[in-house]
């Protein structure tokens, strides 16, 4: 990316984009293989007269002895029912198949693209009618319809192209319409409208650039379908008798005794030609899809990386602590990239009934840290050092089976977006009951149902909502249900990951009050992960401020707010609006948090720190103990100690 900034601005943005695309595409092996397969066959079709050993049209010197000869030096692919050279026909047949495929697909793509775009973008009465028509055409089986139309009209090449073309647009129209609808509802289109852009401008500058990638992939698919359709029609005896395509070669061979004679060559090679082209197109389409519409393709059931301990002194758990995290470090390891040091050397303790706030901005590693406690990291994440002691047991070392008995039973999680954290096709009651069944399988059914009702009641949800699905709940209710689920097995620790972030202030206050009252009532220990300093001040006992994956400051709540020692904590408090001082101008922290795969050499906050000096830029500060319950990692703190 740097190079594009340094070089003089190129004349054509499109050329640059095309080159960029090509650079990425060449790295995609599937796509390249497909393209190569296609290029070979296209070259063969273009140079057919030069390649084919025999002229395809002349069977002048036709002799009975030439019929169905097996492959030989003179006839590589043998001869067919008319004594013609199969290889020559094969080479010329490529022309017919490709011409029909490309021209028919062209018609389909134009019709489908325009109809999809119009129906998706304008969406008025006529456009809905258009889409209804598309729906009908999509349901009507297309091959029988093609057969009927070609059978009723003249089976000329033009006709076949036309019929395949005008019946093959339906899927394209659907795909383009749904993509257009998706792009249309995006905020940047609304922004363009607000700027004053008309429909033409919006389609050209905003819709088309984002529909194009989908359309390109679809086009490749449509070409392959058209080639398949042509060969099928020809095989069924509906091909143009003057243009010998692969499908027609198969039709003649199959209809004229190749089977009974055992002339496999007359049946095998034309078919392989079709497979070659269609496979080439399919691979090309797959490759384009991967490049143009990349998806991550990773998921939560992929195996996690094993924990490693980099040979530090064996530490023993502190007496009396319920949960103790010692020197925990987590890296994200992606092939070909430097490891992202997401969490480094974090330690904290949590006692029974205590509420610790884990505070930091997005990307500071707080969610990674929280997930690692129950070894729920995504597959690229790895615990590279440190221990997590729960009641004296090291969770980084226990076996998977044992860990599954601790998950939820002892430590449960309230996730951020409850809408996504609840399964949309199962009722809320079922999902709560599931956790109980897993950990207390002996509980009788009635008792189980009573327990679910009791849990919902505890968080203020009426029992009749038990049978409802998550989408029938409001945002606040879903978060309550999530809390009820977390309480299901009477855990000792609850990890709450930004449980109020997406909620309105009043609902947020309701949830906070609920958590606080549950803590008092049930003696829960809570880890409260948040970016909101105000929320932390309201309910936490102690606070760990994270910045760029490390502990900036760790202290009891009063110290953090009234005697912060780390410049980041101090600056963050100044940037946070305080309603009790409405006239005060907010100060901001210049710059942006570091990227975890490109961390600065010294203190991670140094580039933004107003007090940074030379040492900060070269040496990472250690965590200094400033009091019984006060730690900060800053060179200035050390100097003042």
């Amino acid at each position: 990316m740097e190079t594009t900034i340094l070089v003089a601005k190129p004349k054509s943005q499109w050329l640059v984009r095309l080159l960029n695309f090509w650079r990425v595409f060449t790295k995609n092996s599937i796509g390249i293989v497909g393209l190569a397969m296609l290029v070979v066959i296209i070259l063969m079709a273009i140079f057919a007269p030069a390649i084919a050993p025999y002229d395809s049209s002349s069977s002048a010197e036709f002799q009975v002895g030439d019929i169905y000869n097996p492959p030989s030096a003179a006839h590589w692919f043998g001869t067919d029912d008319a004594g013609q050279d199969v290889f020559s026909n094969f080479v010329f047949g490529a022309r017919v198949s490709l011409i029909v495929g490309f021209f028919a697909a062209f018609i389909s793509i134009i019709i489908g693209g325009v109809l999809g775009l119009v129906a998706g973008f304008f969406g008025g009465r006529w456009e809905n009618l258009l889409m209804r028509f598309t729906d009908i055409m999509l349901v009507i089986p297309d091959l029988p319809l093609m057969v009927v139309i070609v059978a009723l009209t003249k089976p000329s090449l033009m006709n076949i192209i036309f019929v395949i073309g005008i019946l093959g647009w339906t899927t394209t129209a659907r795909v383009v319409r749904s993509q257009t609808l998706a792009v249309k509802s995006r905020k940047f289109v609304l922004r363009a409208r607000a700027v004053g852009a008309g429909n033409g401008h919006i389609i050209a500058h905003h819709i088309l650039p984002l529909v194009m990638p989908i359309l390109v992939v679809q086009a490749v698919l449509v070409v392959s379908l058209a080639i398949l359709n042509e060969s099928t029609l020809s095989f069924l005896g509906l091909g143009d008798p003057t243009a010998l395509s692969w499908g027609q070669m198969l039709n003649y061979a199959f209809g004229r005794g190749a089977m009974s004679i055992g002339a496999w060559w007359a049946l095998l090679f034309p078919g392989l030609g079709i497979v070659w082209v269609v496979l080439g197109l399919t691979l090309l389409g797959q490759g384009l899809e991967q490049v143009l519409n990349p998806r991550l393709d990773t998921h939560h059931l992929m195996p996690s990386k094993p924990t490693v301990q980099s040979g530090r002194v064996e530490l023993n758990p502190e007496k009396g602590a319920l949960l103790e995290v010692q020197n925990l470090s987590i890296h994200y390891i992606n092939e070909g990239k430097p490891a992202a040091r997401a969490v480094e050397d974090i330690s904290f303790t949590l006692s029974k009934g205590e509420l610790i706030g884990l505070v930091g901005e997005s990307g500071c590693g707080k969610t990674t840290l929280m997930l690692s406690l129950l070894r729920l990291l995504p597959s690229a994440g790895q615990i590279v050092n440190g221990r997590v002691f729960f009641n004296g047991k090291d969770l980084t070392a226990v076996g998977d089976e044992e860990l599954n008995t601790i998950r939820w039973k002892e430590i449960s999680i309230v996730f951020q977006g409850a809408m996504n954290a609840l399964n949309p096709v199962r009722t809320v009651g079922e999902q709560i009951a599931e956790a109980i069944v897993k950990h207390m399988p002996a509980m009788p059914h009635e008792q189980l149902q009573a327990r679910v009702t009791e849990l919902l009641d505890l968080v203020g949800i009426a029992a009749d909502h038990k049978e409802h699905y998550p989408h029938q709940y409001s945002g606040g209710m879903r978060q309550r249900a999530m809390i009820a689920m977390a309480l299901a097995c009477n855990p000792q620790v609850i990890i709450a990951d930004e449980p109020t972030t997406a909620l309105d202030v009043m609902i947020q206050a309701q949830i906070l009050e609920l958590l606080d009252s549950l803590r008092k009532k049930l003696g829960l220990a809570i880890i409260f992960v948040t970016h909101d300093l105000g929320v932390v001040a309201e309910i936490c006992d102690k606070v760990l401020v994270m910045y760029g994956g490390v502990t900036a400051e760790y202290a009891d709540v009063d110290t953090i707010y009234n005697e912060p020692r780390h410049p980041y904590t101090q600056e963050l408090l100044k940037a946070f609006p305080d309603l009790t001082k409405p006239k005060k101008k907010l100060s901001s922290i210049p710059g942006y948090p570091p990227r975890l795969d490109a961390l600065p050499a010294g203190c991670r906050f140094a580039p933004r720190c107003p007090l940074a000096f030379d040492r900060c830029r070269t040496e990472q500060p250690l965590l200094h103990k400033l009091g019984d319950m006060h730690f900060a990692s800053c060179h200035l703190v050390e100097a003042s100690k």
């Binding site: 078919g271 599954n404 096709v425 009722t427």
Partner: protein, 342 residues
């Protein structure tokens, strides 16, 4: 309340689509140049009276639709007759009585020919669909679960390759293979087998079905594998899977209770949309294996220019697909709670 409304809407829509197909079907065969009057009765050896007789026999002497005489390419009949005594309304009327006309080739009623063949096609497509879906889902689940391993890559490459096979060609290749392995090559039953005990008859049909069903399964399982794979990967990367994992559920429990149903939902829609395309496969397979189904009927009718059979077969296939589509659609709204309550 809303659910009944959606249900009624869907059924009404299916009925409308069927009506559309009926009208389309009628006009295709009247408007396109190869209309039956010219193509079917164009034998130069026939005397004029004989042609006229045939016209009357097939109802071609009537106007197409009363007041669209220009649509009647052979300009027979006049506007003065009973407004319902036209080819179009007679066609509609006959349809409602289950009559689809008479075959040019065999002189038998088309409805009789097709009704015995419909079930053979349904049997073939049914068996093929069920097998390809089961195999596709299993492969897809393994590919998604073991994403980015060699299991996944081989499943994807295999799927792309079988997807690229022309159905009729695969059928021919399997026919070749079958002929050297003593499998029956054509038809649904060995001639004369109807005198055998029922169990042996079934075994005979089963042996005849092996190759066609195998072809069908291979051709369609690739697509289902790919769809299942990507659908399951999407589901498995959802937050609720992380919740399930945090609950301490085992991998098997997560797949069974949280992932499969969610991932199968898009598959139901795809299956519904695909039905129209899978008929294409049936035509090719039936053509190669001489399977006595609708596809085979189409293949034969094309060769003999037997238009009433072609017309009837197309209509029957279209209506069956629309009906199956409706069922898939209703199943989907029954399975997905989000649709029910919207």
């Amino acid at each position: 309340m809303n659910r009944t409304r959606t249900l009624l809407k869907k059924i009404a829509w299916a009925v409308f689509t069927i009506l559309f197909v009926i009208v389309l079907n009628f006009f295709l065969f009247r408007v396109l140049p190869g209309d039956p009057a010219r193509a079917g009765i164009r034998d130069p050896r026939l005397k004029k009276e004989a042609v006229e007789m045939l016209r009357v026999r097939f109802g071609l002497d009537k106007p197409v639709i009363n007041c669209f005489e220009s649509l009647n390419p052979i300009k027979v009949g006049s506007c003065a007759v009973n407004p319902l005594d036209t080819q179009f309304f007679i066609y509609i009327g006959n349809l409602f009585q289950g009559e689809l006309g008479i075959s040019y080739h065999t002189n038998r009623p088309v409805a009789d020919i097709l009704s015995e063949r419909l079930w053979n096609t349904v049997l073939l497509i049914g068996a093929g669909q069920i097998l390809s879906i089961i195999i596709g889902v299993i492969f897809g689940v393994f590919a998604a679960w073991k994403a980015h391993t060699s299991i996944d890559y081989s499943a994807v490459i295999t799927s792309l390759m079988v997807w690229s096979l022309p159905t009729f060609w695969l059928a021919i290749i399997l026919l070749f293979w079958g002929s050297s392995n003593g499998l029956p090559l054509a038809g649904k039953a060995t001639p004369g087998s109807s005198s055998l005990p029922l169990l042996q008859q079934w075994a005979d049909i089963f042996r005849h079905m092996l190759l066609p069903t195998l072809t069908y399964t291979i051709v369609y399982m690739g697509e289902y594998t790919l769809i299942m794979r990507s659908s399951l990967i999407d589901v498995l990367s959802e937050d609720y899977i992380l919740t399930a994992k945090a609950k301490g559920l085992s991998t098997f429990q997560i797949l069974k209770d949280h992932a499969l149903k969610n991932a199968m939902l898009p598959l139901v829609t795809i299956i519904a949309i695909n039905l129209g395309f899978t008929v294409a496969g049936a035509i090719q397979i039936e053509a190669v294996f001489s399977w006595p189904g609708l596809g085979g009927a189409i293949f034969e009718a094309v060769g003999r220019r037997d238009f009433p059979v072609l017309q009837g077969a197309f209509l029957l296939i279209a209506v069956t697909v629309i009906f199956a589509n409706l069922i898939a659609d209703l199943t989907y709204s029954y399975l997905d709670p989000r649709v029910q309550t919207e």
